[in-house]
Symmetry: C2
Subunit: 214 residues, 2 copies
DNA sequence: ATAAGGCGTTTGTGATCACAAACGGGTGGT
DNA sequence: ACCACCCGTTTGTGATCACAAACGCCTTAT
């Protein structure tokens, strides 16, 4: 029992924050979409105050942008910024995978295979949001083994910034099966092959985002 | 005239945010120090609302920690977390330096040398805050040339998280002169030596933080 | 037809208030 | 001497309100 009280009552701004955050990270909101404090407050059944705190926090994390007049919306990323964020993903995720490798036992690898096979389902359903969610779950499951919470937090911040853009990306590419690089990652984990793992993770991260930047 | 309107009127929560942020990043607040919303509000002559937003934002960036009861304080980092943050600095700053290298002209190198010589002054004055500020200015000046705002923002977030801890570090080590690795960085820039630059930056970043983790 | 101006409405900002929880110091009991 | 309990005070949370700025749509003049 490592978590006796799973926080049965979360604060209002935390509910709004978490709700918005997963929505953005999973690509459920299109780039450039506008949000209003009163609208969010009504949607989550809170007043403007918690809605404002949640929005401010997401702005600080780069998940939302704020105009000079205070209007908030999901950002429309330039190609340069997409390239930067992809490079950050490559840097951090390669390091996380490398740190997870010596701790990756068979149970973890089986879990990854299970998640990966689930990707086939969402792909066949043309479910872009499901695809992003499952893909991120695959990566997070691996990186959790790295025992590096600060790095994982940074990594998720990058995912968050790319969320709305990822929707646009995976919406236009025609996927027919689970990504090949996920299989390479699993194979490298099984073999204990660190250089191979680093290459596979770097390829998987860079692959999709390169084509978005034309 | 690249900045015609330097934002002559900043919003209240932004003033609090910026004030607190530089104070934390420069190590002017000791680890574990507690802050109160009403206290901050009185100090910056605003009500609790802007103070709360500024604090929430800094908590989101990892510059402050919040207890389950909502009390905020500067974090006391574990050795594991310090090691993680140092590794993140190494990853990101090496990349930033590498991207800045092809754009580093003579004017930049002279600017860096000027900043570096300023470090001697603050060192002789036993001015820990001045040392941290000047050191960060040295790095930021170099990284600005990388034209990678997202990476620089991530980098500064790490600096922010290490701020209070850096004060404790530089307080205990006896510095007598400007860091040797800064000279190596400048030399590598002059020579256009990318591997040497990467090594110098990595060494400079890791050097101080390794000894803190015992 | 197009562009500029005006006005009602929407929206963010910051202050204030009521409330509950938590902290801290002091007291009393063992 | 030490520990538990209690109560006054401090503190964070969230709702509400007044205000100013910005937005959007419509009218009007050229």
């Amino acid at each position: 029992m490592q978590n006796p009280k799973p926080l049965e009552t979360a604060s209002a701004h935390d509910r709004v924050y978490r709700g918005l955050r997963t929505r953005i990270m999973h690509g459920q909101i299109a780039p450039g979409h506008a949000l209003t404090l009163r609208g969010l407050g009504k949607e989550f059944e809170v007043s403007m105050t918690p809605a404002r705190e949640a929005v401010q926090r997401l702005v600080a994390e780069g998940a939302l942008q704020m105009s000079t007049s205070g209007r908030v919306s999901t950002p429309e990323l330039s190609n340069e910024r997409i390239e930067e964020l992809a490079a950050l993903r490559a840097l951090i995720e390669v390091e996380l995978a490398s740190r997870a490798l010596p701790r990756a036992h068979m149970a973890l690898i089986e879990r990854l295979q299970s998640i990966n096979s689930g990707i086939a389902d969402v792909v066949s359903n043309r479910d872009a949001v499901g695809y992003i969610r499952t893909n991120l779950e695959f990566h997070r499951t691996l990186y959790l083994r790295a025992q590096a919470p600060a790095m994982l937090a940074m990594c998720e911040t990058v995912w968050l910034q790319l969320g709305p853009t990822m929707r646009a990306l995976y919406g236009r590419l025609r996927r027919t099966e689970a990504p090949q690089y996920h299989r390479l990652i699993i194979a490298a984990l099984k073999a204990g092959d660190e250089p191979g793992l680093r290459l596979a993770v770097r390829s998987d991260v860079t692959q999709g985002l390169r084509m978005l930047a034309n």
